[in-house]
């Protein structure tokens, strides 16, 4: 609690520091959200191996996990593998 008080006082006397906090804060948020996406959504990650043994098999045949997929039109993919 005292940290925020000190920081707020310093910002009032040096307002040019505010953009610094904005950009550092933005960077921290982006890193944290990307790590959270990796931990929770990545099909290679399995937190519970008894109930979720092969999470990559749960992807649809044209479902995209990558953020940017260049030269790959996922909507045109057909299902290839035979069922059993």
């Amino acid at each position: 609690m005292s940290v925020f008080g000190t920081v707020a006082k310093q910002l009032k006397s040096h307002p040019a520091l505010i953009p610094l906090f904005i950009f550092i804060g933005g960077g921290v948020t982006m890193s944290a959200t990307y790590l959270a996406r990796l931990a929770l959504k990545n099909p290679d990650v399995s937190w519970d191996r008894t109930n979720n043994p092969e999470p990559w098999n749960k992807l649809e045949h044209n479902q995209q996990y990558k953020l940017f997929a260049i030269n790959m039109d996922y909507s045109k993919l057909k299902k290839d593998r035979p069922d059993f």
Binding site: W56, E60, Y65, A69, L77, K78, D80
Partner: protein, 86 residues
């Protein structure tokens, strides 16, 4: 639009893109197809159906996997010491 499995096997050229494994590292793709081949054989044999559809998985893993891995896993399957879940 879907071809029969015989047509697919006849027209097979190489392993198609698999959305489960979009990155450069295709190790898991190879292993998963090897597992799927044996699981498919086991499942269709239990249901007394023709095991030809399983050949798709064999073609894919033969395209993807290094021969030494396939040989090692086949030896392990014969011994009964294959570590994967079939």
């Amino acid at each position: 639009m879907s071809e029969t499995i015989d047509e697919k096997l006849k027209n097979y050229r190489t392993a198609p893109f698999d959305a489960r494994f979009p990155n450069t590292n295709q190790t898991r793709n190879c292993y998963q197809n090897y597992l799927d081949y044996h699981r498919c054989n086991k499942a269709l044999a239990a249901k007394d159906q023709d095991q030809t559809p399983c050949q798709w998985y064999m073609r894919v893993y033969k395209s993807l996997c290094p021969m030494s891995w396939v040989a090692k896993w086949d030896d392990q399957m014969e011994d009964g010491s294959f570590p994967g879940k079939i």
